[in-house]
Protein backbone atom coordinates (compact mmCIF):
# COMPACT_ATOMS: atom_id res chain seq x y z
CA UNK A 1 0.00 0.00 0.00
CA UNK A 2 3.02 2.23 0.14
CA UNK A 3 4.31 2.01 -3.43
CA UNK A 4 3.34 4.71 -5.89
CA UNK A 5 2.69 3.61 -9.45
CA UNK A 6 1.51 5.36 -12.58
CA UNK A 7 -1.92 3.97 -11.82
CA UNK A 8 -1.84 5.66 -8.41
CA UNK A 9 -1.01 8.96 -10.12
CA UNK A 10 -3.97 8.60 -12.49
CA UNK A 11 -6.28 7.82 -9.59
CA UNK A 12 -5.06 10.85 -7.69
CA UNK A 13 -5.70 13.09 -10.71
CA UNK A 14 -9.22 11.72 -11.03
CA UNK A 15 -9.89 12.10 -7.30
CA UNK A 16 -8.66 15.70 -7.34
CA UNK A 17 -10.73 16.62 -10.41
CA UNK A 18 -13.82 15.28 -8.70
CA UNK A 19 -13.02 17.11 -5.46
CA UNK A 20 -12.80 20.37 -7.39
CA UNK A 21 -16.45 19.75 -8.24
CA UNK A 22 -17.21 18.94 -4.60
CA UNK A 23 -17.54 15.22 -5.29
CA UNK A 24 -15.82 12.03 -4.15
CA UNK A 25 -15.08 8.88 -6.10
CA UNK A 26 -17.75 6.91 -4.31
CA UNK A 27 -20.33 9.67 -4.30
CA UNK A 28 -20.02 10.64 -0.64
CA UNK A 29 -20.04 14.17 0.75
CA UNK A 30 -16.59 15.34 1.91
CA UNK A 31 -17.59 15.05 5.57
CA UNK A 32 -19.43 11.77 5.22
CA UNK A 33 -18.09 8.47 6.59
CA UNK A 34 -18.80 5.22 4.79
CA UNK A 35 -21.55 2.90 5.93
CA UNK A 36 -20.64 1.15 9.15
CA UNK A 37 -22.08 -2.31 9.78
CA UNK A 38 -21.48 -3.99 13.11
CA UNK A 39 -21.85 -7.65 14.00
CA UNK A 40 -21.62 -8.06 17.76
CA UNK A 41 -20.40 -11.33 19.33
CA UNK A 42 -18.84 -12.72 16.16
CA UNK A 43 -16.43 -14.76 18.32
CA UNK A 44 -18.70 -16.19 21.03
CA UNK A 45 -15.88 -17.91 22.97
CA UNK A 46 -14.13 -14.56 23.54
CA UNK A 47 -15.32 -12.32 26.39
CA UNK A 48 -16.45 -9.81 23.82
CA UNK A 49 -16.11 -9.42 20.08
CA UNK A 50 -17.26 -7.52 17.04
CA UNK A 51 -16.83 -7.88 13.31
CA UNK A 52 -17.30 -4.56 11.59
CA UNK A 53 -17.23 -3.30 8.03
CA UNK A 54 -16.52 0.34 7.24
CA UNK A 55 -17.20 0.40 3.52
CA UNK A 56 -15.07 -2.45 2.25
CA UNK A 57 -12.62 -2.37 5.15
CA UNK A 58 -13.35 -5.22 7.51
CA UNK A 59 -11.99 -5.77 11.02
CA UNK A 60 -12.59 -8.43 13.66
CA UNK A 61 -11.92 -7.54 17.29
CA UNK A 62 -11.84 -10.14 20.06
CA UNK A 63 -11.61 -9.17 23.72
CA UNK A 64 -9.98 -11.46 26.26
CA UNK A 65 -10.35 -10.71 29.96
CA UNK A 66 -8.07 -12.58 32.34
CA UNK A 67 -6.10 -12.15 35.57
CA UNK A 68 -2.68 -10.60 35.18
CA UNK A 69 0.06 -9.01 37.25
CA UNK A 70 -0.13 -5.24 37.64
CA UNK A 71 2.68 -2.97 36.54
CA UNK A 72 5.00 -2.36 39.52
CA UNK A 73 4.10 1.32 39.93
CA UNK A 74 0.33 1.01 39.32
CA UNK A 75 -0.75 -1.83 41.55
CA UNK A 76 -4.17 -0.25 42.02
CA UNK A 77 -5.15 -0.40 38.35
CA UNK A 78 -6.09 -3.11 35.92
CA UNK A 79 -4.55 -3.44 32.48
CA UNK A 80 -5.99 -2.35 29.19
CA UNK A 81 -4.12 -3.24 26.02
CA UNK A 82 -5.41 -2.82 22.50
CA UNK A 83 -3.52 -4.20 19.50
CA UNK A 84 -3.97 -4.24 15.72
CA UNK A 85 -2.62 -6.56 13.07
CA UNK A 86 -2.94 -6.59 9.29
CA UNK A 87 -3.69 -10.15 8.22
CA UNK A 88 -2.00 -11.08 4.93
CA UNK A 89 -5.33 -12.08 3.39
CA UNK A 90 -6.54 -8.48 3.75
CA UNK A 91 -4.53 -7.18 0.78
CA UNK A 92 -2.00 -8.58 -1.73
CA UNK A 93 0.76 -6.25 -0.51
CA UNK A 94 0.63 -7.24 3.16
CA UNK A 95 3.64 -9.25 4.25
CA UNK A 96 3.91 -11.68 7.13
CA UNK A 97 6.65 -11.20 9.70
CA UNK A 98 7.21 -8.73 12.50
CA UNK A 99 4.94 -5.66 12.35
CA UNK A 100 6.22 -2.75 10.26
CA UNK A 101 6.14 0.86 11.54
CA UNK A 102 2.73 1.70 9.96
CA UNK A 103 1.11 -1.23 11.77
CA UNK A 104 2.84 -0.34 15.02
CA UNK A 105 1.50 3.22 14.65
CA UNK A 106 -1.98 1.87 13.88
CA UNK A 107 -1.96 -0.26 17.02
CA UNK A 108 -0.64 2.49 19.24
CA UNK A 109 -3.06 5.14 17.95
CA UNK A 110 -6.01 2.77 18.34
CA UNK A 111 -4.90 1.93 21.86
CA UNK A 112 -4.29 5.55 22.82
CA UNK A 113 -7.62 6.81 21.52
CA UNK A 114 -9.45 4.42 23.84
CA UNK A 115 -7.01 4.71 26.74
CA UNK A 116 -6.88 8.53 26.80
CA UNK A 117 -10.69 8.78 26.74
CA UNK A 118 -10.69 6.75 30.01
CA UNK A 119 -13.39 4.59 28.41
CA UNK A 120 -12.64 1.74 30.81
CA UNK A 121 -12.32 2.50 34.50
CA UNK A 122 -9.23 0.41 35.20
CA UNK A 123 -9.34 1.29 38.89
CA UNK A 124 -12.30 -1.10 39.16
CA UNK A 125 -10.29 -3.96 37.64
CA UNK A 126 -8.29 -4.92 40.73
CA UNK A 127 -8.47 -8.40 42.22
CA UNK A 128 -5.87 -7.84 44.96
CA UNK A 129 -3.97 -4.58 45.16
CA UNK A 130 -0.33 -4.83 44.01
CA UNK A 131 -0.71 -8.57 43.39
CA UNK A 132 -3.38 -9.38 40.85
CA UNK A 133 -5.49 -7.30 38.52
CA UNK A 134 -7.80 -7.91 35.58
CA UNK A 135 -6.28 -7.49 32.14
CA UNK A 136 -8.48 -6.50 29.22
CA UNK A 137 -6.94 -7.31 25.83
CA UNK A 138 -8.70 -6.03 22.72
CA UNK A 139 -7.00 -7.54 19.67
CA UNK A 140 -7.98 -6.22 16.23
CA UNK A 141 -7.27 -8.15 13.05
CA UNK A 142 -7.82 -6.54 9.65
CA UNK A 143 -9.49 -9.01 7.34
CA UNK A 144 -10.16 -6.87 4.26
CA UNK A 145 -8.47 -3.59 3.38
CA UNK A 146 -10.03 -0.54 1.78
CA UNK A 147 -8.37 2.36 3.60
CA UNK A 148 -8.79 4.03 7.00
CA UNK A 149 -7.83 1.27 9.37
CA UNK A 150 -7.55 3.77 12.24
CA UNK A 151 -11.29 4.27 12.48
CA UNK A 152 -12.20 0.70 11.57
CA UNK A 153 -10.03 -0.74 14.35
CA UNK A 154 -11.26 1.86 16.81
CA UNK A 155 -14.92 1.07 16.09
CA UNK A 156 -14.34 -2.70 16.24
CA UNK A 157 -12.57 -2.42 19.60
CA UNK A 158 -15.15 -0.02 21.04
CA UNK A 159 -18.08 -2.18 19.92
CA UNK A 160 -16.43 -5.29 21.35
CA UNK A 161 -15.62 -3.61 24.68
CA UNK A 162 -19.11 -2.14 25.08
CA UNK A 163 -20.60 -5.63 24.89
CA UNK A 164 -17.92 -7.61 26.73
CA UNK A 165 -18.87 -9.77 29.67
CA UNK A 166 -16.28 -9.91 32.39
CA UNK A 167 -15.88 -12.89 34.72
CA UNK A 168 -15.22 -12.27 38.41
CA UNK A 169 -12.23 -13.53 40.38
CA UNK A 170 -11.68 -13.78 44.13
CA UNK A 171 -8.29 -13.68 45.80
CA UNK A 172 -7.97 -17.06 47.53
CA UNK A 173 -4.81 -18.84 48.69
CA UNK A 174 -2.64 -16.14 47.18
CA UNK A 175 -4.07 -16.59 43.70
CA UNK A 176 -7.07 -15.40 41.70
CA UNK A 177 -9.87 -17.98 41.62
CA UNK A 178 -12.69 -17.73 39.11
CA UNK A 179 -16.07 -17.11 40.68
CA UNK A 180 -18.25 -19.39 38.56
CA UNK A 181 -21.48 -18.03 37.11
CA UNK A 182 -20.82 -14.42 38.00
CA UNK A 183 -20.47 -12.18 35.01
CA UNK A 184 -20.77 -8.47 34.64
CA UNK A 185 -20.17 -5.61 32.26
CA UNK A 186 -16.88 -3.81 32.00
CA UNK A 187 -16.88 -0.48 33.90
CA UNK A 188 -17.45 1.96 31.01
CA UNK A 189 -17.06 5.73 31.46
CA UNK A 190 -17.50 7.07 27.96
CA UNK A 191 -17.62 6.04 24.29
CA UNK A 192 -14.60 7.26 22.35
CA UNK A 193 -14.98 7.71 18.59
CA UNK A 194 -12.08 8.22 16.26
CA UNK A 195 -12.59 10.19 13.03
CA UNK A 196 -9.84 10.21 10.42
CA UNK A 197 -9.62 12.94 7.82
CA UNK A 198 -7.37 12.93 4.77
CA UNK A 199 -5.99 15.98 3.02
CA UNK A 200 -5.85 15.65 -0.76
CA UNK A 201 -4.59 18.80 -2.39
CA UNK A 202 -6.51 21.48 -0.50
CA UNK A 203 -9.49 19.30 0.26
CA UNK A 204 -10.17 17.44 3.46
CA UNK A 205 -12.28 14.30 3.33
CA UNK A 206 -13.66 12.21 6.16
CA UNK A 207 -12.97 8.45 6.27
CA UNK A 208 -10.77 8.07 3.15
CA UNK A 209 -11.31 4.82 1.25
CA UNK A 210 -8.42 2.81 -0.17
CA UNK A 211 -7.96 4.90 -3.32
CA UNK A 212 -8.19 8.15 -1.37
CA UNK A 213 -5.78 6.80 1.23
CA UNK A 214 -3.18 6.07 -1.48
CA UNK A 215 -3.67 9.58 -2.93
CA UNK A 216 -3.69 11.76 0.15
CA UNK A 217 -0.98 14.17 1.29
CA UNK A 218 -1.60 14.12 5.02
CA UNK A 219 -4.09 12.81 7.52
CA UNK A 220 -5.29 13.50 11.01
CA UNK A 221 -7.12 11.13 13.37
CA UNK A 222 -9.07 12.84 16.15
CA UNK A 223 -10.84 10.97 18.92
CA UNK A 224 -13.72 12.53 20.84
CA UNK A 225 -15.58 11.30 23.91
CA UNK A 226 -19.26 11.20 24.88
CA UNK A 227 -19.03 14.76 26.27
CA UNK A 228 -17.95 16.08 22.87
CA UNK A 229 -14.42 16.72 24.09
CA UNK A 230 -11.30 15.90 22.15
CA UNK A 231 -9.14 13.30 23.83
CA UNK A 232 -6.54 12.12 21.34
CA UNK A 233 -5.08 13.19 18.03
CA UNK A 234 -2.49 11.88 15.60
CA UNK A 235 -1.27 13.64 12.49
CA UNK A 236 0.37 11.54 9.79
CA UNK A 237 1.44 11.61 6.16
CA UNK A 238 4.20 13.52 4.46
CA UNK A 239 2.62 16.96 4.26
CA UNK A 240 1.20 19.42 6.77
CA UNK A 241 -1.98 21.22 7.77
CA UNK A 242 -2.63 24.90 8.37
CA UNK A 243 -3.77 25.99 11.82
CA UNK A 244 -7.24 26.71 10.43
CA UNK A 245 -7.49 23.27 8.89
CA UNK A 246 -6.58 21.66 12.18
CA UNK A 247 -9.23 23.65 14.05
CA UNK A 248 -11.80 22.77 11.40
CA UNK A 249 -10.87 19.09 11.59
CA UNK A 250 -11.54 19.24 15.33
CA UNK A 251 -15.07 20.48 14.69
CA UNK A 252 -15.68 17.85 12.02
CA UNK A 253 -14.49 15.08 14.33
CA UNK A 254 -17.03 16.15 16.96
CA UNK A 255 -19.88 16.26 14.48
CA UNK A 256 -19.14 13.02 12.63
CA UNK A 257 -18.11 11.34 15.87
CA UNK A 258 -21.52 12.02 17.40
CA UNK A 259 -23.27 10.20 14.53
CA UNK A 260 -21.02 7.18 14.82
CA UNK A 261 -21.36 7.12 18.62
CA UNK A 262 -25.12 6.73 18.24
CA UNK A 263 -24.55 3.83 15.86
CA UNK A 264 -22.14 2.15 18.31
CA UNK A 265 -24.56 2.70 21.20
CA UNK A 266 -27.58 1.28 19.43
CA UNK A 267 -25.79 -1.81 18.15
CA UNK A 268 -24.41 -2.52 21.62
CA UNK A 269 -27.80 -2.06 23.28
CA UNK A 270 -29.39 -4.52 20.87
CA UNK A 271 -26.87 -7.04 22.10
CA UNK A 272 -27.05 -6.64 25.85
Amino acid sequence: MASHSVLDELKRTQILELLEQGKRVDGRALDEARELSIEINAIPKANGSARIRLGDTEVVCGVKIQPDRPFPDTGDKGLFICTAELLPLSHPTVETGPPQPPVIELARVTDRGIRESHMIDVSQLVIEKDKSVIGVFADNVVVDYDGNLFDACSYAATAALLTSKTPKWNWTDEKPVLSEGEEGQLPINTIPVSVTMGKIGNYIVVDPNGDEWASMDARVTITTDSDGNICALQKGGNDGFTLDEIVKCGETSIKVGAQIREKLKSSSQENQ
Binding site: A42, I43, P44, K45, A46, S49, D56, E58, V60, G62, V63, K64, Q66, T83, E85, L87, P88, L89, S90, H91, P92, T96, F137, D139, V141, V143, D144, Y145, D146
Partner: protein, 244 residues
Amino acid sequence: MGGRDATMVLLDENGIRCDGRKIDEPRRIMIKAGGLKNADGSAYIEFGDNKILVGVFGPRDVHPKHMSNTDTGILRVRYHMEPFSVGERKNPAPSRREIEISKVIKEALEPAVMLEKFPRTAVDVFIEILQADGGTRCAALTAASVALADAGIPMRDMVAAIASGKVADTIILDVNNEEDQAGQADMPIGYMPSEEKITLLQLDGVLTPEEYKKCVEVGVEGCKLVYDLQKKALHDKYFGEKAD
Protein backbone atom coordinates in the same frame (compact mmCIF):
# COMPACT_ATOMS: atom_id res chain seq x y z
CA MET B 1 -4.13 -38.75 26.53
CA GLY B 2 -4.82 -39.97 30.03
CA GLY B 3 -7.38 -37.22 30.13
CA ARG B 4 -7.40 -34.33 32.53
CA ASP B 5 -10.98 -34.73 33.56
CA ALA B 6 -11.51 -38.40 34.22
CA THR B 7 -15.01 -37.80 35.49
CA MET B 8 -16.35 -36.49 32.16
CA VAL B 9 -18.59 -39.03 30.42
CA LEU B 10 -17.42 -39.01 26.82
CA LEU B 11 -19.84 -41.72 25.66
CA ASP B 12 -23.01 -42.75 27.46
CA GLU B 13 -24.72 -46.13 27.55
CA ASN B 14 -26.76 -45.22 24.46
CA GLY B 15 -23.69 -44.40 22.39
CA ILE B 16 -24.29 -40.68 22.68
CA ARG B 17 -21.27 -38.38 22.98
CA CYS B 18 -20.69 -35.47 25.37
CA ASP B 19 -22.14 -32.98 22.87
CA GLY B 20 -25.12 -35.14 21.94
CA ARG B 21 -23.73 -36.59 18.72
CA LYS B 22 -23.73 -40.21 17.62
CA ILE B 23 -20.36 -41.90 17.16
CA ASP B 24 -20.27 -41.43 13.39
CA GLU B 25 -21.89 -37.99 13.33
CA PRO B 26 -19.87 -34.92 12.43
CA ARG B 27 -20.45 -31.54 14.05
CA ARG B 28 -22.41 -28.84 12.22
CA ILE B 29 -20.39 -27.76 9.17
CA MET B 30 -21.06 -24.57 7.20
CA ILE B 31 -18.82 -23.64 4.28
CA LYS B 32 -19.02 -20.43 2.27
CA ALA B 33 -16.97 -19.88 -0.87
CA GLY B 34 -15.75 -16.30 -1.44
CA GLY B 35 -16.43 -13.34 0.84
CA LEU B 36 -13.22 -11.32 0.80
CA LYS B 37 -12.82 -8.43 -1.66
CA ASN B 38 -9.06 -8.26 -2.02
CA ALA B 39 -8.10 -11.94 -2.02
CA ASP B 40 -8.10 -13.76 -5.36
CA GLY B 41 -10.09 -16.53 -3.74
CA SER B 42 -11.48 -17.08 -0.26
CA ALA B 43 -13.60 -19.29 1.91
CA TYR B 44 -15.12 -19.22 5.38
CA ILE B 45 -15.89 -22.33 7.39
CA GLU B 46 -17.70 -22.99 10.63
CA PHE B 47 -16.93 -26.53 11.75
CA GLY B 48 -18.48 -27.05 15.15
CA ASP B 49 -17.31 -23.97 17.02
CA ASN B 50 -14.29 -23.50 14.78
CA LYS B 51 -14.49 -20.31 12.73
CA ILE B 52 -11.85 -20.06 10.04
CA LEU B 53 -11.21 -17.65 7.18
CA VAL B 54 -8.94 -18.51 4.25
CA GLY B 55 -7.64 -16.15 1.57
CA VAL B 56 -5.66 -17.15 -1.52
CA PHE B 57 -3.43 -14.96 -3.69
CA GLY B 58 -1.78 -16.02 -6.94
CA PRO B 59 -0.32 -17.36 -9.05
CA ARG B 60 1.96 -14.36 -8.54
CA ASP B 61 5.61 -13.40 -8.76
CA VAL B 62 8.02 -14.65 -6.12
CA HIS B 63 10.36 -12.31 -4.27
CA PRO B 64 13.24 -12.87 -3.94
CA LYS B 65 13.44 -14.48 -7.37
CA HIS B 66 15.83 -17.25 -6.32
CA MET B 67 13.05 -18.70 -4.18
CA SER B 68 11.05 -19.48 -7.33
CA ASN B 69 11.34 -22.66 -9.38
CA THR B 70 11.62 -22.58 -13.16
CA ASP B 71 9.99 -26.01 -13.50
CA THR B 72 6.97 -25.62 -11.29
CA GLY B 73 4.92 -23.26 -9.21
CA ILE B 74 5.29 -23.24 -5.46
CA LEU B 75 2.62 -23.34 -2.81
CA ARG B 76 3.05 -21.37 0.41
CA VAL B 77 0.74 -21.88 3.36
CA ARG B 78 0.46 -19.97 6.62
CA TYR B 79 -1.77 -21.30 9.41
CA HIS B 80 -2.24 -18.54 11.97
CA MET B 81 -4.31 -18.24 15.16
CA GLU B 82 -5.74 -14.93 16.30
CA PRO B 83 -4.86 -13.97 19.89
CA PHE B 84 -8.54 -14.26 20.85
CA SER B 85 -9.18 -17.60 19.15
CA VAL B 86 -8.33 -19.79 22.13
CA GLY B 87 -9.18 -20.00 25.83
CA GLU B 88 -6.24 -18.06 27.19
CA ARG B 89 -5.10 -15.19 24.99
CA LYS B 90 -2.47 -16.46 22.58
CA ASN B 91 0.86 -14.70 22.26
CA PRO B 92 0.91 -13.12 18.78
CA ALA B 93 4.34 -14.59 17.86
CA PRO B 94 4.05 -17.65 15.59
CA SER B 95 4.35 -20.80 17.67
CA ARG B 96 6.24 -23.92 16.63
CA ARG B 97 2.86 -25.67 16.51
CA GLU B 98 1.57 -23.17 13.95
CA ILE B 99 4.72 -23.61 11.84
CA GLU B 100 4.36 -27.39 11.85
CA ILE B 101 0.66 -27.28 10.97
CA SER B 102 1.39 -24.83 8.13
CA LYS B 103 3.81 -27.38 6.71
CA VAL B 104 1.45 -30.33 7.17
CA ILE B 105 -1.41 -28.50 5.43
CA LYS B 106 0.90 -27.38 2.63
CA GLU B 107 1.95 -30.97 1.99
CA ALA B 108 -1.67 -32.06 2.13
CA LEU B 109 -2.66 -29.52 -0.55
CA GLU B 110 0.29 -30.02 -2.90
CA PRO B 111 -0.96 -33.31 -4.38
CA ALA B 112 -4.22 -31.53 -5.26
CA VAL B 113 -2.85 -28.40 -6.91
CA MET B 114 -1.50 -28.53 -10.48
CA LEU B 115 1.61 -26.57 -9.59
CA GLU B 116 3.28 -27.56 -12.87
CA LYS B 117 0.79 -25.30 -14.68
CA PHE B 118 2.30 -22.08 -13.31
CA PRO B 119 6.10 -22.34 -13.19
CA ARG B 120 8.17 -19.57 -11.57
CA THR B 121 5.17 -18.29 -9.60
CA ALA B 122 3.68 -18.86 -6.18
CA VAL B 123 0.24 -19.42 -4.76
CA ASP B 124 -0.21 -18.16 -1.20
CA VAL B 125 -2.78 -19.64 1.14
CA PHE B 126 -3.44 -17.64 4.31
CA ILE B 127 -5.45 -19.44 7.00
CA GLU B 128 -6.82 -17.42 9.89
CA ILE B 129 -8.24 -19.21 12.91
CA LEU B 130 -10.79 -16.79 14.36
CA GLN B 131 -12.15 -19.28 16.89
CA ALA B 132 -10.69 -22.70 17.70
CA ASP B 133 -12.54 -25.74 18.98
CA GLY B 134 -10.51 -28.88 18.27
CA GLY B 135 -9.88 -30.07 14.73
CA THR B 136 -8.75 -26.69 13.38
CA ARG B 137 -6.24 -28.23 10.96
CA CYS B 138 -8.91 -30.37 9.29
CA ALA B 139 -11.38 -27.50 9.07
CA ALA B 140 -8.63 -25.24 7.76
CA LEU B 141 -7.54 -27.72 5.10
CA THR B 142 -11.14 -28.17 4.00
CA ALA B 143 -11.65 -24.41 3.67
CA ALA B 144 -8.28 -23.91 1.97
CA SER B 145 -9.28 -26.34 -0.79
CA VAL B 146 -12.47 -24.36 -1.41
CA ALA B 147 -10.55 -21.05 -1.41
CA LEU B 148 -8.05 -22.41 -3.95
CA ALA B 149 -10.92 -23.52 -6.18
CA ASP B 150 -12.58 -20.12 -5.70
CA ALA B 151 -9.33 -18.48 -6.87
CA GLY B 152 -9.48 -20.51 -10.06
CA ILE B 153 -6.26 -22.41 -9.33
CA PRO B 154 -6.18 -25.59 -11.48
CA MET B 155 -6.67 -28.61 -9.22
CA ARG B 156 -6.80 -32.37 -9.60
CA ASP B 157 -9.36 -32.60 -6.80
CA MET B 158 -10.23 -30.93 -3.53
CA VAL B 159 -8.89 -32.24 -0.23
CA ALA B 160 -11.59 -32.84 2.37
CA ALA B 161 -10.56 -33.34 5.96
CA ILE B 162 -11.93 -34.45 9.31
CA ALA B 163 -10.56 -36.24 12.35
CA SER B 164 -11.46 -39.69 13.57
CA GLY B 165 -10.43 -40.83 17.02
CA LYS B 166 -11.04 -42.98 20.03
CA VAL B 167 -13.01 -42.23 23.17
CA ALA B 168 -14.20 -44.74 25.77
CA ASP B 169 -12.54 -47.47 23.68
CA THR B 170 -14.77 -46.64 20.72
CA ILE B 171 -13.75 -45.28 17.33
CA ILE B 172 -15.62 -42.06 16.60
CA LEU B 173 -15.85 -39.47 13.84
CA ASP B 174 -14.95 -35.77 14.22
CA VAL B 175 -13.18 -35.32 17.54
CA ASN B 176 -14.24 -32.16 19.36
CA ASN B 177 -12.17 -30.20 21.83
CA GLU B 178 -13.30 -32.08 24.96
CA GLU B 179 -12.78 -35.43 23.25
CA ASP B 180 -9.33 -34.36 22.12
CA GLN B 181 -8.39 -33.31 25.67
CA ALA B 182 -9.90 -36.22 27.55
CA GLY B 183 -10.04 -38.93 24.87
CA GLN B 184 -7.65 -41.71 23.89
CA ALA B 185 -6.65 -40.86 20.33
CA ASP B 186 -7.04 -38.19 17.67
CA MET B 187 -6.36 -38.89 13.98
CA PRO B 188 -6.76 -35.95 11.57
CA ILE B 189 -7.21 -37.16 7.98
CA GLY B 190 -7.18 -35.28 4.68
CA TYR B 191 -8.42 -37.15 1.64
CA MET B 192 -8.95 -36.54 -2.09
CA PRO B 193 -12.02 -38.66 -2.87
CA SER B 194 -11.72 -38.82 -6.64
CA GLU B 195 -7.99 -39.57 -6.46
CA GLU B 196 -8.47 -41.92 -3.46
CA LYS B 197 -5.41 -40.46 -1.79
CA ILE B 198 -4.78 -39.66 1.85
CA THR B 199 -2.71 -36.47 1.82
CA LEU B 200 -2.87 -35.51 5.51
CA LEU B 201 -2.56 -38.01 8.30
CA GLN B 202 -1.46 -37.63 11.88
CA LEU B 203 -2.10 -39.54 15.05
CA ASP B 204 -1.71 -38.80 18.74
CA GLY B 205 -2.79 -41.51 21.15
CA VAL B 206 -2.67 -45.26 21.46
CA LEU B 207 -4.50 -47.63 19.06
CA THR B 208 -4.36 -51.38 18.61
CA PRO B 209 -3.64 -52.49 15.04
CA GLU B 210 -7.37 -53.22 14.50
CA GLU B 211 -8.44 -49.85 15.90
CA TYR B 212 -5.84 -48.18 13.72
CA LYS B 213 -7.35 -49.68 10.56
CA LYS B 214 -10.89 -48.83 11.68
CA CYS B 215 -9.86 -45.28 12.52
CA VAL B 216 -8.42 -44.65 9.05
CA GLU B 217 -11.53 -46.12 7.41
CA VAL B 218 -13.94 -44.06 9.53
CA GLY B 219 -11.92 -40.94 8.76
CA VAL B 220 -11.94 -41.56 5.01
CA GLU B 221 -15.72 -42.01 5.08
CA GLY B 222 -16.04 -38.77 7.03
CA CYS B 223 -13.96 -36.95 4.43
CA LYS B 224 -16.48 -37.97 1.79
CA LEU B 225 -19.25 -36.25 3.78
CA VAL B 226 -17.14 -33.12 4.03
CA TYR B 227 -16.35 -33.29 0.32
CA ASP B 228 -20.03 -33.00 -0.56
CA LEU B 229 -20.30 -29.84 1.52
CA GLN B 230 -17.26 -28.37 -0.24
CA LYS B 231 -18.84 -28.97 -3.62
CA LYS B 232 -22.13 -27.53 -2.41
CA ALA B 233 -20.39 -24.34 -1.23
CA LEU B 234 -18.84 -23.78 -4.65
CA HIS B 235 -22.10 -24.62 -6.36
CA ASP B 236 -23.97 -22.15 -4.16
CA LYS B 237 -21.58 -19.38 -5.08
CA TYR B 238 -21.25 -20.00 -8.78
CA PHE B 239 -24.54 -21.63 -9.72
CA GLY B 240 -26.81 -20.94 -6.78
CA GLU B 241 -29.67 -18.48 -6.69
CA LYS B 242 -27.60 -16.09 -4.66
CA ALA B 243 -24.71 -16.25 -7.14
CA ASP B 244 -23.45 -12.85 -8.19
